[in-house]
Amino acid sequence: MRALLVILVKELRQLRRDPKILPILFLAPAFQLVILGYAATTDVRHVELAVCDLDRSAESRRLVQRFEGSTYFRVTGRVDDQNGLDRLLQDGTARVALTIPAGFAAERNAGRVGTVQLLTDGSDAMSGSAALGYANGVLRSVAAAGVRPLVELRPVVLYNPDLASRNFMVPAVLSLILMIMTMMLTAMAIVRESETGTLEQLLVTPLTPGHLILGKLIPYALVGLVEALSTLPVALFWFRVPLRGSLLTLLAFTVPFMLCNLGLGLLISTISRTQQQAMMLTAFVFMMPQIYLSGFAFPIQNMPKGFQLVTYLVPLRYYITILRGIFLKGIGIEVLWPQALALTGLGVAILLLARMRFRRRLG
């Protein structure tokens, strides 16, 4: 017990001694959250729209006004022939192009269906398809005007009524920051000791590998918790993401997630010889794939079956579900226990594996 304390005191002294690490630990995460909170949004507003109105009738002008009237579109170009639209789409002036053919009003007045053409820039698939969806909505509302529909749909969006992607993304970004920081710091801290030779010196002392592992993990677990607490206010008060569940539950669920990250950090340190290697390994082997496979940006249910299975091994996946659940749905352990269980299981497994490798490497 005292041996452990000795290591902890040393680790904290070293952290305090490094003038560069403190801002990285406690300011960078909040800063990162601010940037990502603004940048990581899938909301589409004010899509650039080019219009080619060949009909030039009151009807066609009213249709264009409908587009302008919605907050989703703004008209950035008007041309008189369709070749002009191509140019606007190519140089990026417009992302969606609307062509109203000559005779549109005449068709409508004759009681037939008026046809318009909508071109979308698919090179940015995400905002392209969103824009297409909005355009459809506008056109549907025009079509429905004056006609009594057979069925009236009254959609209600739960948990995030405005479908604000910020509410969805900020909790996920929070989990990313926590993961990156704890995993990388743990890995670097251990590799640094083996680089400078102090690890070897530690190994000729009566300290056991268990002491060494705990002595490294506990300080960085503390750092992770402080980090979580320092970034939370940004999420709550700056971005006003609603926290509907309990803060205590959130922190409690953070513990097994941290276990996974610390374990992965330890694992990385047993594979890397230098701090550079540890950093690259963290970034490309343990971080990026986790982000892609976590449902952070890409819905897991849209992935091929095999990949979906792999996501069950990704700790971040569970933690993102947990955070989104607690923040937006206000749920707790009664619903999230399978995730908590999975995280704990993964954490223990990773730690055991890392400990085995750590021992063998020291052997």
């Binding site: 304390l5 000795v6 070293q14 300290l207």
Partner: protein, 314 residues
Amino acid sequence: MSQPAVRAVELSRWFGAFRAVDRVSFEVGTGEVFGFLGSNGAGKTTTIRMLCGLLAPSSGSGEVLGFDVATQPHEIKRRIGYMSQRFSLYADLTVDENLAFWGGAYGLGGARLRERVAWAIEVGALASRRGTVVRELPVGFRQRLALGCALLHEPPIVFLDEPTGGVDPEARRRFWDLIDTLAAAGTTVFVTTHYMDEAERCGRVALMHAGKLLALDTVPRLKARFESGTVVEIACPRPAAAMRHLEGLPAVHEVALFGDLLHAILAAPGAASGLVAALEAAGHAPATVTAIDPSLEDVFIHVISRPSTGREQA
């Protein structure tokens, strides 16, 4: 005192096909200053790492203070001091913080820790630097601090792996005075070096080369292997060319360059007289040949150039 502090029996370690340490056997008595002399890559560090329980032997066995290195490393670690060639200290901590940490790592605390830290500060002459961050400490101070850290728990034996690397001669001398003090107090000192002058200060010296232990004895007895008059120093104008010439003579066993002089080991004491004539006949006039007391380096060169006669003492 019947039990040796260290005993190695056919101790070996190989990495793949490379035999870093090849069937090395020796004993170190309690209170002895035991030197391991060899060039880089001779297997000195690997041997020390095995004895400290950092590396498992591939074959053979080793005992430190009666504990087996392969099966009881924990017992050994508790009782030994170890200082590596890198002076493994925390560069971002102060002298006091390093001492407190390494003392704590050996389970020291309270009054005992304070007392031992005071001791390390005193013998290391570190009093004026207690609050200095190690990174800013001159190498000589760092070296004495590292030794202090390794001795906080008063181990009966201390392993020093090239402890004087990168240290100036004055600091080296001071360090060796410290080693003598330790030995006088009964601590067994096991030290590796590639400096001949340091090896001269050891009670017994093991010569190691390419993983093999080639000779092991006290320095005077190692030197006494040469009949008096068989080691000569030669001064002549072009020593490098003369060396090539001498190598071809049957009367000369070995010849090596020492600065701008040559040292030669002769087949028999009487051969010296013929050398001057032979050299001057070959155009190396004026040449002088003086019989000298062999240095440890002469012994070392002699031993490693005749590997077939190695492992003379088990």
